[in-house]
């Protein structure tokens, strides 16, 4: 998708200014999307209150600095970075000058810090009456748990993802990532911002948006929630199975030898197979060569396959374990059976389909070099996302933003640098 010449020179958010006071995962992704669609995004950090993702890898080989984290750099494309120490009075003044410039202010800092920094909505509207002020607290700005701590690693457990994902007789390990941070929370946030921008265009009025990460994430687990509110049944994790499909799961395939950083090693390979109808089950049987076991009466109906699912899975795995997941996928998809490779990070990068669609984006970064970034989660035919600049180095645009956006003179900037306000 890189550098596609837009059919429409004007992008949807051209002319929209975003003051991005966020950090970690859940905060920065939303302003990044705004920047990809034309907004000017200024990311505010400081050396004393730096985005911790800058310190978490992966880093390119032989390089380790705050500017080369593949984690941070994937969420801060097209942004400018200014360092302001918000714990100083002058830093606070600069923040408000930035808010005066901004159409949208966004932060996922805790309510305590927002209040300490004087960046609550009532303060922002004093300098920018039509501001759209967006807060993403963990649990909300009110309520008995408003000051509870948590990052994504604790949010998964609190919101129910860990209890509901995985095998029933195993600990609640969950998704292995800070899952709600990456799509559910940032995209919910952007939907709300676009609604507010639309309202502002019609009425001239801004508004306050609050997205409690707890609420936004629990909204994504509705079936389990309603099974309790309506039926008072508290579901538990059920592995990879579904009540209305069988087989439905992950199956072991042939192991492969791979090159790893410290020599060769084995890699487990997996595929998924799912049958939602008798038609798909019968197609699966044929694709497997109509083996005798599959003609067993016990497997003739969905109810039977559910009842004998352990046996069913063992039989299918005998077949998959002698094949690569790629072979399983192409054979079964050709036969009309839903099947796929359980892809890992390497598989995704090498995925021929994604390559043909030019999903991944290569960007040149002054310190990290040429690296790969995730492409767009949605595509617009007339105003595609534009990937113009790799993530900024810490404070890379401090001078430029002070001068061009905040309207400071060179002398004023120098004084603020000396006073360690721009720090």
């Amino acid at each position: 998708m890189a550098a596609i010449a837009a059919k429409d020179e004007r992008q949807p958010l051209t002319g929209i200014n975003v003051a991005d006071f966020s950090w970690f995962g859940a905060g920065p992704i939303c302003p990044q999307m705004m920047g990809l669609y034309g907004a000017t995004v200024v990311r505010v950090e400081s050396e004393t209150h730096m985005d911790a993702l800058r310190g978490i890898g992966p880093f390119p080989p032989g390089k380790m600095s705050y500017n080369v984290s593949g984690y941070f750099n994937n969420y801060n494309i097209n942004k400018q970075s200014i360092t302001i120490d918000l714990n100083t009075e002058q830093g606070h003044d600069l923040a408000l000058r930035l808010v005066r410039w901004a159409d949208v202010f966004l932060t996922n800092m805790t309510p305590r810090i927002i209040e300490r920094w004087g960046l609550i909505y009532d303060e922002l509207v004093k300098v920018r009456p039509d501001i759209i002020a967006v807060y993403l607290p963990m649990q909300g700005f009110d309520g008995p748990h408003r000051d509870f701590l948590g990052f994504g690693a604790v949010l998964g457990p609190i919101t129910g993802f860990n209890h509901l994902t995985g095998l029933p007789n195993r600990p609640p390990t969950g998704m292995g990532t800070n899952y709600p941070d990456y799509i559910i929370n940032p995209n919910h946030t952007l939907i709300a911002i676009l609604a507010a921008l639309r309202h502002r265009r019609r009425t001239g009025k801004g508004q306050r948006i609050e997205l409690s990460q707890l609420e936004s994430s629990v909204a994504a687990l509705a079936p389990a929630v309603m099974d309790y509110t309506v039926n008072e049944r508290s579901q538990t994790r059920a592995g990879n199975r579904l009540p209305h499909a069988a087989p439905h799961g992950a199956f072991r395939c042939q192991t492969i030898r791979i090159q790893a950083p410290f020599g060769e090693k084995d890699e487990e390979r997996w595929c998924v197979i799912a049958c939602f109808s008798e038609e798909q089950w019968s197609a699966l049987r044929q694709a497997l060569g109509d083996p005798g076991w599959a003609r067993d009466e016990r497997f003739a109906t969905l109810a039977g396959r559910k009842e004998h699912e352990d046996d069913l899975e063992r039989q299918i795995e005998e077949w998959t374990s002698q094949r690569s997941p790629e072979e399983v996928m192409t054979t079964l998809q050709a036969a009309g059976v839903p099947a796929a490779v359980v892809q890992n990070g390497r598989d995704c990068l090498e995925d021929a389909h994604l390559r043909e669609r030019e999903y991944y984006v290569q960007l040149e970064h002054p310190e990290a070099g040429r690296t790969t970034h995730d492409g767009p989660g949605f595509r617009l035919s007339e105003t595609p996302a534009r990937y113009e600049r790799a993530a900024p180095c810490l404070g890379e645009h401090t001078h430029q933003v002070c001068k061009e956006i905040l309207g400071l003179s060179d002398d004023e900037i120098a004084d603020l640098l000396v006073a360690q306000v721009l720090h």
Binding site: L155, N162, I183, A195, V218, R357
Partner: protein
């Protein structure tokens, strides 16, 4: 009294041709005030057959996942394979700001209702297409239920413990994320249309919609040629680190992240154990000095040089054992609320029951009652994902019964009672 605060999308009409894959997209639009007309095949959307059901009564009006995904919508049944039904759709299309569909690629074109045909009926229309893999590319024709999407996007590979098979994320997260991305793209296109008068085609592939949720797996291979595996309950730490990961409480599970930045130090946890008389020998040598070092620097050192930590393993395991006994002596809610009161990074592993009883969600009045007169009951739905001060999210209308608004919508289009009956008799509606 009904809330009549203006909504953000009160002037927008959406024709919703989606099934399970796309229904959360149109729910998001409907809950912001759009007039969403759900067009279902006669007999209803097959998603109505997916449980759990209201009181376990398998009935097309009682599927709980379906109900949640279809709040605020109206239902029109149309058999789009029938020319007379397509004519009804064509009459409806000029009123549509947005059309959202989740058919296999090419299906709408085959009905002569693709993007160009829609543009002829409504020049500034926004068409949003949600599919498993997008319309182009070698996998475009693949069958793509949710599990195929989460497998191909790399997020399933990461879920679970390394010794177990990859785990399926609960709750059709592939469908859900494809829908969220689609709603974001649709809103972006709508804002652009408001400004320029031009519509466009929004395309979402479920696989692409999910890829960014791999966290660092893609970059780990891109930069270091190393495959990130399932890090499991210990978060990829090579040895047991007390306070990190899941622990059993007396009545369920909690999750610790003690020692990570932002929260109180391990010494605060030790103080708590002492106060409760459960610290055993942890206050003494050699344990206390180790506990004082259990912070992010220790963890970083551990990841960079696991060998150096080896001699400490038995000591750490002993500390972990004492801690596990302490956690097992209290309930998950005690550990969560009292631990957080001490600024310790401890989370409850919430069950659905915990979510519904959660005091924070209660205090913020999050769950939404929706009256279902036909059931004689008010059902409680998940509440707003976001709170907008001027243009609120809200549920004004319970989800529709199959074809509930056929007569209303057809008479709006100028069909007479006789024509309506003829359409019904032919199976078009």
């Amino acid at each position: 009294m009904p809330d009549d605060t203006p909504t953000a999308l009160g002037d927008v009409r959406v024709l919703d041709l989606t099934g399970e894959l796309g229904s959360y997209c149109t729910k998001l639009l409907a809950d912001l005030g759009a007039d969403v007309i759900k067009i279902e095949p006669p007999g209803g959307d097959p998603a109505r057959d997916v449980g759990p059901f209201y009181h376990d009564e398998a009935d097309r009006e009682k599927s709980l996942p379906f109900l949640n995904l279809n709040t605020n919508k109206r239902s029109l049944t149309l058999n789009l394979d029938d020319p007379a039904a397509r004519e009804v759709f064509r009459k409806l299309a000029p009123s549509a700001d947005i059309v959202v569909e989740s058919f296999p690629p090419g299906y709408l074109d085959s009905l002569e209702l693709g993007y160009e045909a829609l543009q002829a009926l409504r020049p500034d229309v926004i068409l949003t297409s949600i599919t498993g893999f997008g319309a182009q590319g070698p996998h475009a024709g693949y069958l793509a239920p949710d599990i195929v999407g989460v497998a191909m996007s790399g997020i399933m590979w990461l879920a679970g413990d390394p010794e177990d098979p990859p785990s399926l994320p609960y709750g059709n997260q592939g469908y859900l994320c494809a829908s969220i991305q689609a709603a974001t793209g649709t809103m972006m296109a709508l804002y652009h249309r408001d400004l320029t008068g031009r519509g466009q085609h929004v395309e979402v592939s479920m696989q692409e919609a999910l890829l960014i949720a791999q966290e660092t797996a893609m970059q780990t291979y891109d930069l270091n040629k190393s495959v990130r595996g399932r890090m499991g309950r210990r978060g990829g730490l090579p040895i047991t680190v007390p306070g990190m990961g899941p622990y059993e409480a007396s009545d369920g599970w909690i999750w610790g992240y003690v020692g990570a930045p932002g929260g109180a130090a391990w010494t605060e946890l030790l103080k708590w154990l002492e106060e409760e008389g459960m610290a055993e020998d942890l206050t003494e040598e050699p344990y206390r000095p180790i506990i004082e070092q259990l912070n992010i620097r220790f963890l970083t050192g551990l990841m960079l040089n696991p060998e150096e930590s080896k001699p400490k393993i038995p000591l750490l395991e002993h500390i972990d054992g004492v801690l596990a006994r302490f956690f097992a002596s209290k309930t998950k809610w005690e550990l969560y609320e009292q631990g957080q009161g001490r600024r310790l990074l401890i989370g409850i592993v919430s069950t659905p029951e915990d979510l519904v009883k959660n005091p924070q969600l209660k205090a913020r009045d999050w769950y939404q009652g929706v009256e279902h007169p036909d059931l004689g009951e008010t059902l409680r739905y998940p509440g707003p994902p976001y709170r907008l001060s001027e243009t609120p999210w809200r549920i004004d209308r319970r989800p529709p019964r199959v074809g509930e608004h056929n007569a209303e919508l057809l008479s709006e289009l100028g069909y007479s009672q006789e024509e309506l009956e003829a359409l019904a008799a032919s199976g078009a509606v």
